[in-house]
């Protein structure tokens, strides 16, 4: 049997795992990373990046369609057509470049990458299995679990045939005429909107009473309006019963108990993600779990000494940037530094149209925590740049403590607001007050001015409203 030993062994080459490995390599820790599929994990291969690529294509296509049907901008074009095969090729090219880049970075940091399926033997030993090769045994001092998560399956409507997960939805061979999306969370809506823009007839079914149930009403209202504008039909408070006998339609039941059927060429199930905790010998370690997730402390230590876990497998929020920060931290701790995972905020972005971004707490959450707070919004309808982008819907909202004006949360909805997340995260992490942001000159004309104006408004003297 092939055998080698290392100091740090990382299972999983997603954003958490590869960042941990790169940082460890930089710090001179002998590191091996095991990945069964492509480097980059869900994020690069079947998540963040390809979905944004597809969303971009859908946006461009919709723009052209919009122009074809007459535009106030004075642009006219002929009816556009789309070659979805070429779209997927283009997207795969981007993914390929990025995963290749990750491989190069790992190599540069001196990380050994082993392709294959990891199987934990014990807390210090992992066996890697690869088709047609004898298993390779790797010994390590530190074991880092960065195994990620997978799309949750509905037991009565498992994946296969026309029932697909986001993974398949990101590599369509043809565009479905009728698409039913189960789940109005961010994954379902991002893809639902993209498919609608590409020309599919989209229905979205959600068990709760509103879309994007994780966000408040003010934030989701512009998204709901946009869905209507795109012709996407939402079925809220409805549960999915399964495919009908012929497999041609999805049966649903609304809150009143009435059943109906939605014709479907494809059914995208996006009802959440489950941590990957099976199939690689995790149970042999008998470490403490937190529900389905691996339980970790604020240093990402599991209950077993020198076994660490980061990213989606450790719980919410399941976000690539959280996993990356954890991965970097674990590498530094292993190198002997004192570190803790204690972010003041982790921004989350929803790439719907309009986009939604949140960092820190909402006014409701702050009040629920017993924080006396003030909040103020500044609408994009009063922002010149937003108008020039044909985007008047949406706003930026700030939440701050009443006593010392410390900013505890930001929310925004609108076109291209995802880029505001940097400013949101930074101001909270730095401990900025309303006065700090209000006193910072924001460049004109940009969407960012709405940030300054929201802070000014919270202080009672907004200038443009």
């Amino acid at each position: 049997m092939n055998q080698h030993t290392t100091t740090l062994l990382v299972i999983g080459g997603g954003p958490g795992g590869y960042i941990a490995a790169i940082r460890a390599g930089q710090l001179g820790i002998p590191t091996t990373l095991v990945e069964a599929a492509e480097l980059g994990g869900t994020c690069l291969n079947v998540g963040c990046i390809p979905s944004k690529a597809l969303i971009h294509v859908a946006e461009e296509f919709e723009k052209a369609s919009h122009f074809a049907s007459g535009s106030a901008l004075g642009i006219s074009v002929q009816a556009p057509r789309i070659d979805i095969g070429q779209t997927v090729l283009w997207k795969d090219g981007i993914v390929g470049r990025l995963t290749g880049g990750v491989a190069a970075l790992l190599k540069k940091s001196g990380v050994r990458v082993v392709k294959g399926w990891a199987n934990i033997v014990d807390g210090k030993t992992v066996e890697v299995i690869r088709d047609g090769e004898s298993p390779q045994r790797i010994g390590c001092q530190h074991l880092l679990l960065a195994t990620g998560a997978h799309a949750t399956e509905l037991p009565f409507m498992p994946f296969g045939g026309k029932v697909i997960s986001a993974t398949e939805a990101l590599s369509p061979r043809t565009l479905p005429g009728k698409l039913v999306v189960v789940g109005a969370g961010y994954i379902g809506l991002e893809l639902g909107i993209a498919y609608a823009k590409l020309g599919s007839q989209v229905h979205v079914v959600e068990a709760q009473e509103r879309i994007l149930p994780a966000y408040d009403n003010d934030l989701t209202r512009p998204v709901a309006i946009a869905l209507k504008g795109l012709g996407i039909q939402t079925h809220l408070g409805s549960s999915v019963l399964g495919l009908d006998q012929e497999g041609m339609a999805v049966r649903i039941r609304n809150a009143a108990g009435e059943e109906s059927a939605l014709g479907a060429d494809q059914v995208l199930v996006a009802v959440g993600r489950r941590p990957n905790t099976r199939g690689y010998g995790l149970e042999k370690l008998r470490i403490d779990m937190d529900g389905h997730f691996i339980k970790v402390d604020d240093q990402c230590r599991t209950s077993m000494r020198d076994v660490w876990a980061i990213g989606d497998v450790t719980g919410e929020p399941m976000l690539a940037h959280r996993a990356m920060a954890q991965g970097e931290m674990v590498a530094e701790i292993i190198s002997g530094k004192r570190r803790h995972f204690s972010p003041a905020a982790i921004a989350a972005v929803c790439f719907t149209d309009p986009e939604v971004v949140v960092a820190g707490v909402t006014p409701q959450q702050a009040r629920a925590q017993g924080i006396a707070c003030i909040d103020a919004s500044f609408p994009f309808s009063a922002n010149g740049r937003a108008m020039s982008l044909e985007s008047k819907d949406g706003f930026v909202r700030v939440v701050a403590r009443s006593d010392n004006h410390l900013i505890v949360g930001w929310q925004a909805v609108g076109k291209a607001v995802s880029e505001l997340s940097a400013a949101f995260g930074q101001s909270i992490e730095m401990g900025a007050t309303l006065e700090d942001v209000a006193g910072t000159i924001h460049a004109h004309p940009t969407l960012g001015e709405a940030i300054q104006e929201a802070a000014l408004r919270a202080l009672g003297h907004a200038l443009h409203i």
């Binding site: 001179g28 292993i334 002997g336 004192r338 803790h340 004006h405 410390l406 992490e429 730095m430 401990g431």
Partner: protein, 436 residues
């Protein structure tokens, strides 16, 4: 000019890591062939690494105290001619970066000794009392559980300094802790401590962080390994050594000058050799991973030796083939070698049973830790004169206890007791030591 690379050598027995104990050279030093470059240490022995070439030291692969992988670049020496390092474009463009997989992690324990203010350990009450002592600067009005407000850079710096931000006053807007607050806190923590109360009666808030490196780390690992793996069974018996001591005195009077003085240890070694003939199961090594006990004909006697650096076990090979004086001189020689750090690997490994003696500090009872993977250790306690009852009369006898531990997985209590009783019989009637 070329670069000659010396890699961390494989010292055998499948060791993957070697600790770099000391450098004898630094970058820029001229070295000659056979000059000692560094001392490295494995589980057992300290080994000197000599230079095979003439040249100038170009790079050191690690700092003293680091554990380095076998095969990692230990040192680069600039030599006349080609050297053995292939000229690589990448190597020349990034000269500062060690080529091999370098420092293992555990060995960067920040600065070796860090004094930190200990409010962290003292809990919530301390800040309040401190606030009273130094008014303006020490206000901390944070609710328990409330998150101290500080930028990521300040947080990171506090972790590096070992400061709990919870107890640091923030002077910035909204009580934000600034770099200057952190500096003020640390400065106060160090000089603020010795104040108010004169004399030695005052709270001492210093803490020392002492990294476990070198021999101390090896000892810690060995001890933990032994106690974790071996269920120890200990047995103590008192032994009347009056006769033995008489004999030893006589021998020292008669032959002390020409053959050297004897301590109790050679006599005890002889008793062990004789007793082990009857109890071969005690003279063994238990490979518990493989589930195999190996009994040895040879008695390689480990002798626990205290050195300045810590405990070491030097090994007297073939005790069964040595007379008392040969034993004595070998024990003395090994102890010297261990204390001066020049004992070879062979002299520090391969024992089959071990004796542990604290000499005059031997105490009444000890609970010796078995030298894994052996199965028995004999601890020697001090000799004292005690009133004993012999044939109805109280007499003064020289008494010595033996405290022994056995691996209860492979040695039963009954046999352990019989073994110690056999040793006792030999020591109480020393003539039996010499009956073949």
């Amino acid at each position: 000019m070329g670069i000659h690379v010396i890699k961390m050598p494989d010292i055998g027995e499948g060791i993957a890591e070697v600790e770099l104990v000391m450098w004898h050279v630094k970058v820029g030093d001229a070295v000659t062939e056979d000059m000692i470059l560094a001392d490295v240490m494995t589980d057992k022995a300290t080994i000197e690494i000599p230079s095979p070439v003439h040249g100038t030291v170009a790079m050191l692969g690690g700092a003293a105290g680091q554990v380095m992988a076998v095969g990692a670049d230990l040192i680069h020496i600039e030599v006349e001619g080609e050297g053995n390092l292939k000229a690589q474009a990448s190597a020349s463009s990034a000269p500062a970066k060690p080529a091999g997989p370098a420092p293992a992690p555990a060995v960067q324990p920040a600065p070796p000794v860090v004094a930190v203010p200990a409010q962290a350990a003292a809990g919530g009450a301390t800040p309040a009392s401190r606030a009273a002592a130094s008014p303006a600067s020490a206000r901390v009005a944070r609710e328990p559980g409330e998150r101290p407000l500080a930028s990521p850079a300040v947080r990171k710096r506090a972790w590096d300094m070992g400061v709990e931000l919870q107890f640091v006053h923030g002077s910035g807007p909204a009580g934000r802790i600034l770099h200057t607050d952190l500096e003020a806190y640390v400065a106060r923590g160090v000089q603020g401590a010795p104040s108010a109360v004169p004399g030695g009666y005052r709270e001492n808030h210093t803490e020392q962080t002492i990294p476990l490196i070198g021999l101390r780390r090896k000892i810690a690992q060995k001890m933990q390994e032994s106690k974790r793996r071996i269920p120890h069974f200990s047995y103590v018996e008192e032994i009347d050594v009056t006769e033995l001591e008489n004999l030893r005195t006589r021998m020292n009077e008669q032959w002390g000058k020409e053959r050297g003085k004897l301590t109790v240890l050679p006599l005890l070694a002889r008793a062990l050799v004789v007793a082990l003939r009857q109890f071969p199961q005690m003279n063994a090594r238990f490979d518990d991973d493989a589930g195999i006990v190996t009994q040895y004909g040879a008695v390689h006697l480990g002798v626990a030796t205290q050195t300045d650096a810590g405990l070491m076990v030097s090994v007297m090979r073939h005790a069964e083939a040595r007379d008392l004086w040969s034993c004595a001189s070998e024990i003395g020689r090994l102890a010297d070698a261990a204390r001066t750090g020049k004992a070879s690997r062979e002299e520090l490994s391969g024992s089959t049973i071990t004796i542990s003696s604290l000499g005059p500090l031997g105490g009444i009872v000890t609970t010796p830790v078995i030298n894994h993977p052996e199965v028995a250790i004999i601890g020697v306690n001090k000799i004292v004169e005690r009133p004993m009852v012999r044939q109805g009369a109280v007499v003064i006898r020289k008494m010595m206890n033996l405290s022994s531990s056995f691996d209860h997985r492979v040695v039963d209590g009954m046999h352990a007791a019989q073994f110690v009783q056999a040793i006792r019989a030999l020591l109480e009637c020393p003539a039996m030591l010499f009956v073949e």
